[in-house]
Assembly symmetry: C2
């Protein structure tokens, strides 16, 4: 084995002695790949990559890491957007890529046990023949892994219908910093026996332990879906329509909004057009389950009669539905392809959205006249994606400097309106400095005390979320 | 003020100085009422009762308790079945009875903010005019309080449809042992900013702090419901029918089972009868939403044709549905009225239920021949209520002694089949000694370290769940 910079010799000898020969890699391409997630802000500098094949191997590795004070970064599909899986300080990356096994589907209990390296989409395909699904679903499902989804409590476009990942996890196997293996909750729906330790690890971004296996809760594949696209005059209209959708003759699966500015970028990039007669400042996409055709038509008619929408369409078949979804799902890519977006992922109580967006607009008009803001999001769960686009007359550096200031102003507004600085992406390294906008000093103190209790040597993804 | 035994003089003087005149009570009737929950095993011995009117008063009180080392028992509606709210060691009981305010319903966000002393049923009535409900629902809803529901992560008969209380809590205000007020998560659906501290307090039975306010997540009142009653030959039949119900033409709201032995007790007590032509050993009650009449009839026909049920009925109107529900809901009362039941509330992975019940029966036949076991439960979520009835030829004392041994045997089986010794009632004082059957030594150690981090003086409901 090549000597590894940064890792203690006795640790390497112990790994060589106690774990398989191909357990560690220092291949430069591996380190470049496994040292980072989808963010580009921090330079990856992992010391090595570990590729365990079992919970037991993870446990043996972490016991050695603890003994030799080797910090680790747990690594899933690395699709994160908060630099939670970046090894920027010479950590050992522990990838779950070799742990992708999926057990038989328990149809009666509607559960499946998988290793944490199983890819989200592979889980969907594995359970689909039984008419079941794991309703954790988002654009990166082809790469993201179950363990990463759970460690970041992943969201997505179906949260209004199914909730976050947290709700779809029955049991966890977790290895803590000392190498202790915790079997949490098994496959039980109900288990009121003291503190639910599962909940600590869900969303803790690998700072308390490594999730190695999980028992997932499944649900029935939804019935036939319908997709609407509506034009509304303003954000108040988006919210008024949301109120109607809440009581519509169907179950809302997704309620997304985006602005004409987003569509202008999408047209430049993809040459696709909103299939409505005239452009509008705001659009709403609604996906629903279980609507009867006549009831849906009557509902649309009533919206027009009451002036709640200025235009609208209902997809007549799956291909049309996919075209409508492409108007929403192509936005993020188009913003990056046609300019330099600075992204924020905030959430607000739904009733505060209008006031927040109005002040946000005023703030940018006053301090950054001419800057373009592309707004879209999962309004049904209060999640707003704010994309500040680089003006042509600013250099990249000047833009990044000013968006840094802008973030403080945005997050001050988020705080004022009782929102969160990170709805679903998490904190990682990227939002760490801003955490006090969403969490009080007392909360941070408790988080630190829990971190110290579970990881006294601060070896688990150190420096992510909080410093201890 | 009368001198209070057990409370330090300087503490009483400080309370008198800093809190309202009617803040403390030592009235004997108050102490008898507020010192206990629905369990009868431990003698209540509270030193006094505190009745705060606000979060601020709770905070000031707990600061004084911390300063003067006064242990407290938080008290909600006291409908608990695990002695989690019993003040057996001279604690100060802190009742939320004066904190019952409910805020305006946020229809757009489908949330409502309430004080923790609000009664469950009052919340239902408060939000019903908006077509909304808080789907935390069980027999004691007329007395149980929101704070107690959350502190015990209450279950009930609709868990298969809606999940546990945990899923219906957006925000919490919690006062910790030091008097620190934590505002956790506000009214946000999505907030991925580090450890979700709400989850620590949900289900921790008042051992980490006092929940004083909550923002509840609401959902639409369900559409018209249908209720079936079926006879099946055995437990395997109960589970086979469950598999059919999972894929039936409707949404399952409740899937309950009970045995003929339960019905025999119900007939002795209430003289009500199962409206089926011949008695059967096992019955299943299923409540469903959104079934079309023809689809329901076709489904029933198919069950008969395939021999999955030996008899069955579908309630034709609300009164009939209520009669069917009474066959299930009257069981617990009838067991107590016609004998002495020793109750256990366990859960199992659904696919383990048959093996578990079969071994349970053998175990009792071998060790306690002639003892009667009345089984019923929310099979859809794996929750089994095991009621061991006192044989006529045993004294009460002998029976309690032998059920204590029986509990060890039952919980050993629960452990063998990967179940939980407490599905929904919690641990409190009653199940504390049995906790190692469900939680590993490593889990208990982490629970203790969290307890010490949040309550270093062990003043919050001391002795409940675990000793530290």
């Amino acid at each position: 084995m090549t000597p590894l910079t940064g890792l203690p010799g006795p640790f390497l000898e112990a790994v060589q002695r106690e774990l398989p020969a191909d357990f560690l890699s220092t291949d430069a391409a591996d380190l470049a790949t496994f040292g980072r997630d989808w963010t580009k802000v921090h330079e990856p500098r992992p010391s090595a990559l570990a590729l365990p094949r079992s919970t037991d191997e993870v446990s043996r590795l972490l016991r050695l890491c603890s003994e030799h004070r080797v910090p680790v970064v747990p690594s899933g599909g690395r699709t994160g957007l908060a630099a939670g899986a970046v090894a920027a300080r010479g950590e050992l990356v522990v990838s779950l890529d070799r742990m992708r096994k999926m057990g038989p589907v328990d149809v009666l209990g509607a559960t499946v046990r998988v290793e944490a390296g199983a890819v989200t989409e592979a889980v969907h395909q594995h359970v689909a023949p039984h008419g079941l699904t794991w309703p954790v679903d988002f654009a990166s499902k082809g790469s993201s892994q179950v363990g990463g989804n759970i460690a970041t409590n992943a969201g997505g476009v179906k949260v209004i219908r199914y909730g976050l990942t947290r709700q779809w996890v029955l049991g966890l196997t977790v290895v803590t910093a000392s190498g202790t293996v915790l079997e949490l909750n098994g496959a039980l729906e109900k288990n009121n026996t003291g503190i639910d330790l599962r909940q600590l690890f869900i969303g803790s971004e690998g700072t308390l332990g490594i999730i190695t296996e999980a028992t997932l809760k499944l649900t029935r594949v939804p019935e036939a879906l319908n997709v609407f696209l509506f034009a509304v005059p303003d954000l108040a209209g988006v919210l008024a329509l949301f109120r109607e959708a809440r009581t519509g003759p169907f179950v809302v699966m997704a309620y997304e909004f985006f602005t004409e500015k987003c569509q202008a970028r999408l047209r430049r990039h993809r040459n696709v057009r909103v299939p409505l007669s005239a452009p509008s400042d705001y659009y709403v996409l609604i996906e629903v389950e279980r609507g009867e055709p006549e009831a849906l038509e009557a509902w649309i008619t009533s919206l027009f009669e009451r002036g709640l929408v200025t235009d609208g369409t209902l997809a007549q078949h799956g291909a049309q539905a996919a075209e409508l979804w492409a108007l929403r799902e192509g936005i993020s890519e188009s913003l990056s392809a046609t300019g330099l977006p600075h992204k924020n992922d905030v959430s607000l109580p739904i009733q505060e959205l209008e006031g927040f967006c109005s002040e946000l607009e005023s703030l940018f008009e006053a301090r950054y006249p001419g800057w373009e803001i592309a707004l879209f999001g999962h309004i049904g769960d209060g999640n707003l994606h704010i994309n500040v686009m680089k003006p042509d007359d600013l250099t990249r550096e000047e833009f990044l400097k000013r968006t840094h200031e802008a973030d403080h102003a945005i997050f001050s507004l988020v705080k004022k309106y009782h929102g969160s600085i990170s709805a679903e992406h998490g904190i990682g390294l990227l939002k760490k400095d801003y955490l006090p906008y969403s969490r009080s000093a007392e909360e941070l103190a408790i988080m630190r005390s829990i971190k110290r209790a579970l990881d006294p040597l601060n070896l688990m993804n150190p420096g992510k979320i909080i410093d201890v």
